[in-house]
């Protein structure tokens, strides 16, 4: 088969170089799967060395991790429950990343979303449950959206670096939560652990049918799918990618870069705020210091591991939720500190970022460089 024939509407089963089109299609996409997976394996191998160096058995560690996170229906449900907030927290990083922004303060939006939801839930007590739950969701999303949207606005209108400002605002948000929970919103009955008044049972979010995982997981997966559609299939997503590549070029094209940035960061914050609302309505039952459990920070890792692709966030969140879930078992069974999981996460993060340097370096993933198959 020659080039001219291929160019003039030959069967699409062969590419321009004579290889099956399906093979080229797979090769082009394999890079985005093979490199992160290889990085994951290398990261886990390095962590094995670390575990060996502190005198424990890596085999036992990974076996314990498997048992604690993925080995039984019980542990899978536990991992899925932890994955739910991670999905939303990762979106808080992945959506702004489309615009070239590195937002790492999702923890603040989670915390404030949780407090806002708890406050609304208590204030509206007596109203029908679906209205209250809806209002809590809206309040959580609004609080988180305003918080991270402000980061985007500061970035665009004042050129304030979004990475630093979002993390500073996370600290401010936690202080604000402590102030509210110990002051005006405090339930006098909560002595040791200052909390807001507990939500009535009818305002709590249930588990999904047939499993011990609350509906937040479905909400998180839905949010990821919708975000993927937004990014890949709408003109806003397309515009955001242009603006992320080159702000000047986007402005010359007449794109409203300011609205894009505030809109994307606002939506990102709204998702994180929703994660806080779900923690309150489905897990804690009230807002307290447990809201700052670090989901916002693990979410950063999830987003980078998924290379900011909302669909890839779903499996990665499950993976990291499982690693998180196995932390307790590792601590008990192997007498290792609970920070073991943090070390693994940090190591994986570094290796994943390092793996960025390998994209575009392998001929196998780039059919344009293949030799002709004549």
């Amino acid at each position: 088969m020659t080039d001219t024939v291929a160019g003039a509407g030959a069967p699409a089963t062969f590419g321009a170089r004579g290889y099956p089109a399906a093979l080229e299609w797979i090769a082009r996409r394999a890079e985005a799967v093979v490199i992160p997976l290889a990085a994951l394996v290398v990261g886990m191998a390095l962590f094995s060395l670390f575990i060996l160096a502190v005198g424990k058995s890596p085999v036992q560690l990974y076996e314990t991790m498997w048992r604690g996170g993925f080995g039984s229906w019980f542990s899978i449900q536990n991992s899925l429950s932890r994955a739910a907030p991670l999905l939303l927290a990762a979106l808080c990083v992945a959506l702004p990343a489309r615009l070239g922004l590195v937002v790492i303060g999702g923890e603040g939006a989670i915390v404030l979303g949780g407090v806002a939801a708890a406050a609304i839930g208590v204030a509206l007590s007596g109203a029908p449950s679906f209205i209250v739950i809806l209002a809590m969701g809206v309040a959580g999303m609004a609080a988180g959206g305003i918080w991270i949207g402000a980061v985007g606005a500061l970035r665009h209108y004042r050129a304030v670096n979004e990475t630093i400002s979002s993390l500073l605002m996370a600290y401010i948000a936690i202080a604000l939560m402590n102030q509210l929970v110990e002051g005006p919103l405090r339930d006098p009955a909560s002595l040791n652990k200052p909390s807001t008044e507990p939500l009535a049972d009818i305002y709590r979010i249930d588990n999904m049918p047939g499993m011990e995982v609350h509906w937040g997981l479905a909400v998180g997966v839905l949010a990821c799918v919708l975000s993927w559609v937004l990014i890949e299939k709408t003109r806003w997503g397309f515009a955001a990618r242009i603006a992320g590549g080159n702000v000047r070029a986007a402005q010359v094209q007449g794109l409203a870069v300011g609205s894009l940035i505030v809109g994307f960061t606002g939506l990102a914050g709204a998702f994180a705020g929703l994660a806080g609302m779900l923690e309150v309505a489905a897990v804690q039952g009230s807002a307290n210091a447990s809201l700052a459990a670090g989901y916002g920070y693990t979410g950063i890792l999830v987003a980078f591991l998924a290379r900011h692709n909302p669909l890839a966030i779903i499996p990665v969140a499950f993976l990291l939720g499982g690693i998180d879930a196995s932390g307790g078992l590792i601590q008990r069974r192997m007498d290792l500190p609970d920070a073991t999981v943090l070390v693994l996460q940090g190591l994986l993060f570094i290796v994943i970022l390092f793996s960025e340097t390998f994209y575009g370096r392998f001929k196998a993933f780039n059919p344009d460089l293949w030799r002709r198959s004549t």
């Binding site: 050129a159 943090l342 994209y359």
Partner: protein, 308 residues
């Protein structure tokens, strides 16, 4: 004169003393970050380096009985973290800001991992010089008890300010930070210069961490640093990469950090958590006030990604 008699005067006095005490880690981290950023890279991982330095210093001081050995170990650990950041960032496609975030998590995780057995025992403190000995008011004495590291930090700020403009090393650093191409044309290897600059920056952050665990607050806990390493990065931008500005800004931040405890000491407990957030709010306000969308920052190194 006893404590109650000086009344509200205790607040500014406590803020002054607090500014001196709280600012020292800021001084070291921000001077280290100023060196790194002058070379054209940003290391957000200094927060993790600070925490790991605090743990290392405490652990070594507990085991050897010498705070100075602890300090040296912390500086060495910080150097390793900095060199690692500097090395890994030279690869194409590796983002210095993202690596910084990863090192922040990794450094803290590693510190918590190894620091677990050292939460209980107590380590010897770094020595302080009682400049307030002339006074018989205990608050004045407390405020003027100045740690040697504060003085070293102040001297270092002046030295760096001088060295940036008057030494060969300072000029090389600035050339590399302003234009990799110009540096290469001069026969310099920007990656090597940045590697050294990030390493030195890490070592200084490690010393800042040692101060935290060995003097103030003076013990090792997992919550020992609450974003000081990160605020120091913002502070460097505010100080326009000028070491003397870093020193002044660090004092300002230290004062803001001491506001909450100072007010609490005279009985103002309302809004404690909000006063606790004062340094973060101050940092944010300063960043908003000093940034501008229409012009680049005066004095910014040309190669620095955070100001582009």
């Amino acid at each position: 004169m006893d404590a109650t008699e000086i009344g509200l005067w205790g607040v500014p006095l406590a803020i002054l003393g607090g500014a001196i005490r709280v600012s020292t880690p800021f001084i070291f981290v921000s001077l280290g970050e100023a060196i790194t950023e002058r070379s054209g890279r940003i290391n957000l991982g200094l927060e993790g380096t600070l925490v790991f330095g605090a743990m290392t210093a405490y652990a070594v001081a507990v085991m050897t009985g010498s705070p100075w050995l602890g300090l040296t170990a912390a500086a060495f650990a910080g150097l390793c973290f900095g060199l690692f950041h500097g090395w890994i960032c030279k690869f194409r496609g590796v983002n210095d800001i993202a690596i910084g975030i990863a090192l922040m998590l990794f450094g803290s995780g590693l510190a918590f991992f190894f620091g677990k057995p050292f939460i209980q025992p107590s380590a010897p403190d770094l020595p302080a010089i009682p400049f307030g000995a002339w006074s018989d008011i205990p608050q004045v004495q407390a405020a003027l008890d100045v740690n040697v590291l504060f003085l070293i930090g102040a001297a270092l700020a002046v030295f760096l300010w001088w060295a940036f403009r008057n030494t060969r090393a300072g000029l090389i650093l600035r050339v590399v930070g302003d234009s990799s191409d110009a540096a290469r044309a001069m026969g310099l290897n920007p990656d090597t210069v940045r590697l050294i600059a990030t390493g030195v920056g890490g070592a200084l952050a490690g010393i800042g961490g040692a101060y935290l665990s060995l003097y103030y607050p003076g013990s090792w806990t997992e919550g020992i640093s609450s974003g000081q390493g990160l605020m120091a990065v913002a502070l460097v931008i505010f100080a326009r990469w000028n070491p003397l500005g870093c020193f002044a800004a660090a004092l300002l931040f230290g004062g803001a950090g001491a506001l909450g405890p100072a007010l609490q000491s005279v009985g103002v407990t309302q809004g404690y958590y909000l006063f606790y957030a004062a340094p973060y709010i101050l940092t944010l306000i300063i960043m908003i006030a000093t940034s501008s969308p229409s012009r680049s920052l005066a004095g910014a190194p040309g190669e620095l990604s955070i100001t582009k």
